[in-house]
């Protein structure tokens, strides 16, 4: 593993260990009660979901244009992150919504587009797993749809009718609420980087194993 991995992993672990205390110290939002505390893990998960989808799409474009195999590994790793963090956002969101809105789910633009983005990442992974040879280029093409979906997910709350808060809420949060949020975002960003590097390392080792088998056959 690279030398930066273990210090960053330690830092990430400390941030996650401290996060419950930081979240508990944040004040309650009026009329939301304790359920609002889900926000501090829900929103970073959703952001990592969108970032991973962009990374997956960008790496796929670079792989399709340049043919660099490393970009394909990055895209595959990012697709797994999209699936993981998407699942976290899509499960924690309804748990909060049930208390805040009175419904588990609403077929508004943001939720539907998020679900579609998550399903695209699942399709990418299934294609890579069962698609056989040549599936990497098909999957790369598929990931472009996942990336194109990201801006719609983000701005949808400003243009379509929804009970989801608009994008202007986070920048205007007071420090007492914004501080814990950015603390958790930092922890999730580090986690995303660490998991991505682990997953890329796995693909590199698999490629090394394949090349060894090939050299033995020759």
């Amino acid at each position: 593993m690279p030398k930066w991995f273990y210090p960053v992993a330690g830092l990430c672990a400390l941030l996650f260990a401290a996060s419950p205390f930081v979240i508990a110290s944040a004040p309650y939002v009026q009329d939301m009660g304790i359920a609002q505390k889900i926000f501090y893990y829900h929103m970073p998960s959703a952001w990592m979901f969108l970032i991973a989808a962009i990374v997956c799409g960008t790496a796929s474009v670079r792989f399709l244009v340049t043919g660099i195999v490393h970009q394909d590994r990055v895209a595959w790793a990012a697709a797994e992150m999209t699936c993981l963090f998407g699942a976290l956002a899509l499960v924690t969101g309804p748990l909060w919504a049930r208390k805040a809105w009175g419904v588990w789910w609403q077929w508004d633009m943001r939720l539907t587009a998020s679900l579609m983005g998550w399903m695209v990442s699942c399709a990418y992974l299934l294609l890579r797993r069962y698609g056989g040879s040549g599936s990497e280029k098909l999957a790369a093409g598929l990931s472009l749809f996942g990336m194109a979906n990201v801006p719609f997910i983000y701005v949808s709350v400003n243009y379509w009718r929804t009970i989801h808060p608009a994008t202007s809420v986070v920048p205007t949060l007071p420090f007492s609420l914004g501080g814990p949020l950015w603390f958790c975002v930092t922890a999730f960003v580090l986690l995303l980087v660490l998991l991505m590097s682990l997953r890329i390392r796995l693909e590199e080792q698999r490629a090394r194993l394949d090349s060894l088998y090939l050299s033995m056959d020759e």
């Binding site: 690279p2 030398k3 930066w4 210090p7 960053v8 830092l11 400390l14 941030l15 401290a18 205390f21 930081v22 110290s25 944040a26 004040p27 309650y28 939002v29 009026q30 009329d31 939301m32 009660g33 304790i34 359920a35 505390k37 889900i38 893990y41 829900h42 998960s45 797994e80 993981l84 699942a87 976290l88 499960v91 924690t92 748990l95 909060w96 049930r98 208390k99 007492s176 501080g179 603390f183 930092t186 986690l191 998991l195 682990l198 997953r199 390392r201 796995l202 080792q205 698999r206 090394r208 194993l209 060894l212 088998y213 050299s215 033995m216």
Partner: protein, 102 residues
Amino acid sequence: MTRLTALFATMLFGMMMLGFGLATPLLAQTPQPGGSLQQEGFTPIEQLPPQEQLPAAPLLIAAYVFVVVMLFVYLFSVARRLATVQKELTRLEGDIKASKKG
């Protein structure tokens, strides 16, 4: 460079922790937003009849447990896959070395 980065990261983390540690008592004393922000036509949860109220704690616990369990399961899955490949690599490299000697 890597050591400097690690040192910087540790210092940054320490400063953040110190800041939050010092801020915690202040945050705990921060009054909750006042009633002036309350919007018309919205019924606060506390004013709902008991049969319409849903306890929030189980939802909160479920959300955090789900996140932690999913992250650990994924981390364990990647670590297990990595260990399997690493083991196979070590075995194969040993076989290649042995065949070259033989």
